[in-house]
Amino acid sequence: MSEFYFSTKLDQPILLGMRAKNIPELLAGIQTVPESSIYYHTHRYLRQHHFLSPEPPNDFAYWITEVLNEDRLAERVSSVDIIQFKSLEALRNEFIDILQAHLELSERVPSAPAGEEFHFIAARTYVLHTPYIAHDIGEFAALLKNVSVGSLYYHIFEAKLRLEQGENDFSRWFRDQGKTELADRVARLDPYTYTLEGLRNKLIQLVETHGKA
């Protein structure tokens, strides 16, 4: 039986000095920024607003709604189902496709007022080992109540999309423990529709219900 080592992840935003004032410039930016910028703009809300519900749109959708007032496009961009994507390149291409399709059909190009441009930001990521180690499901459930939201975030979101591991770290460990149903249930969650604290509660409930079986 292997242990589960809880890690945590911290981000430092890196300013790229690139800005967009309309959709063509947003598209050009999305096409050229580093992957970590696509990641940052689609996950920042989870980290910064992890208490808000209903939420979160991604940064692109928020800007398109609040600054450009392009509601139809914003809805399309905010409804991109991030959980379906296995890599950041695939996610980037989805945004590119949506924006290109919009530009082909639109007759006008609204511009952001001065000072409200979209600023592209990337992220430097730090992964730290925490002192929390679970030797069995019981310890895992107890630690889940104490680890930071950064730790939850790392094992659920980061492992799957940015590190391209296919499945989140918790499900993989549950599977190793022979807890297949628990692993499947956690893998099937759409974590993007929970706040981080809500996700923590859901995970605790699943582990307590299905971990003993």
């Binding site: 430092q12 808000l52 930001i121 992964v127 730290l128 104490n146 950064g150």
Partner: protein
């Protein structure tokens, strides 16, 4: 003295544990902060509170202040205005004196492993790097969105010699060959300006200023400065007054070094004349507890700025759970997600509309306040600021975009 543990009831043990984990990776490093003033201003305020906390965690942090004469500070004041977009001319002699003072300071100083230089005044200390090496970071605390071209060109040749530059808001970033890190400023929830207050004390402050707490109170705390738009705030209040009873509080210090100060004051007083529900309060320095009480006792807090560096008064209001309406300028959109954690406005009419809306819909207003407080807790408290600085220092000793510790 405030202890790191004192923050646990506010931000949680996991957050403080993370800080300690990070601090372990800096145990052998000495961090040297350098700025140009030991007292007054946001930089001195944050360093005063942050350095003891870093040292408690085993990070050896210190703080040095450069020395300069009147002529030097007159030049750096010109830089400050120019970087804020005010047309300014700096002569060659003045640039030369600025460099001379920096060189004199560099000769007298002992430099540590990480040299963390704040704002433009000591920026040219970097000339010393070619002789002594070390790791150098430049931290810009001011609004840099539309700098005077000549002053920027002069400073750029020094800034680009640093390992990284740090800015408070995305709009201040420029195309630079060095990494630019986004680190927002912060508030300290244990300071007099932000700590919890007894309801009786809040009542006593309102009584002292003759403000009636049984009627809605809309408050803006800021310097009397055109860029904070106090006259626009009064105009918005007058639009709301047509539909409901309310009081307006405009409270702040006079800007004694601002030549426009008296004219603004006169304008504000003319605009407020004859309305007993407008309270214009001049608060002396050291009125942090009164400001805290005024914010806590208000129904709505405004920050209707036309231009703003970061606008930390917004964080102060949100931290107190207050529904906040603020101009969408500078760092304010980082603090408020419109209609989630506060309201962003662009006009006097928009401000008036939202004041009415929030007074009439207290449940919506309450929810904005709850969300706003959580947002500040997660992103704009001193603990997050310390974390960001430690990450920045750690990155100096690691390559790449993913740092495994």
């Amino acid at each position: 003295m405030v202890k790191l543990e004192d923050y646990i009831p506010i931000v949680g043990a996991a957050t403080v544990d993370e800080l300690r984990l990070l601090a372990k990776h800096l145990e052998q490093k000495k961090i040297q902060n350098i700025n140009s003033t030991a007292v007054g201003g946001g930089v001195a305020e944050i360093l005063t509170r942050m350095i003891p906390l870093l040292n408690q965690m085993g990070v050896q942090a210190r703080w040095d202040v450069i020395k300069g004469d009147e002529k030097f500070f007159a030049v750096t004041k010109k830089f400050h205005n120019g970087l804020h977009g005010v047309p300014t001319t700096v002569s060659n002699d003045e640039y030369e004196w600025f460099l001379e003072i920096n060189r004199q300071n560099a000769e007298e100083m002992q430099f540590e492993d990480v040299v963390f230089v704040h704002d433009p005044q000591p920026v040219a200390l970097i000339e010393k790097r070619q002789h002594i090496g070390k790791n150098w970071i430049w931290r810009c605390h001011i609004d840099f969105s539309k700098p005077d071209k000549n002053i920027w060109k002069f400073l750029e040749q020094y800034i680009t010699r640093y390992d990284s530059a740090v800015f408070s808001a995305p709009a201040f970033a420029r195309r630079l060959p060095i990494p630019q890190v986004l680190i927002a400023p912060s508030i300290d929830p244990l300071s007099d300006k932000n700590k919890e207050l007894d309801e009786k004390y809040i009542d006593s402050v309102f009584e002292r200023f003759k403000i009636d707490r049984s009627m809605a109170v809309v408050t803006q705390i800021s310097r009397f400065d055109y860029l904070k738009d106090p006259v626009g705030v009064i105009k918005a209040y007058k639009l709301v007054r047509q539909h409901m009873d309310l009081q307006l509080v405009l409270a702040g210090g006079g800007a004694t070094d601002d030549p426009e100060g008296p004219a603004i004051m006169q304008h504000v007083q003319e605009e407020a004349a004859g309305d007993k529900n407008i309270h214009v309060l001049f608060l002396p320095p050291g009125s942090d507890l009164e400001i805290n009480a005024l914010q806590r006792g208000s129904t709505i807090v405004l920050q209707k700025s036309l231009k703003e560096g970061f606008g930390l008064t917004v964080s102060e209001a949100l931290w107190k759970g207050k529904p906040t309406i603020a101009g969408a300028v500078g760092g304010i959109p980082l603090q408020i997600a419109h209609k989630y954690s506060g309201i962003l406005t662009h006009s006097i009419e928009g401000t008036a509309h939202w004041i009415k809306q929030l007074i009439n819909e207290p449940e919506f207003a309450r929810r904005l306040g709850v969300n706003g407080k959580e947002h500040i807790k997660n992103n704009f408290l001193i603990t997050r600021h310390i974390k960001d600085y430690m990450l920045l220092f750690i990155a100096l000793f690691h390559e790449g975009d993913v740092v495994s510790l």
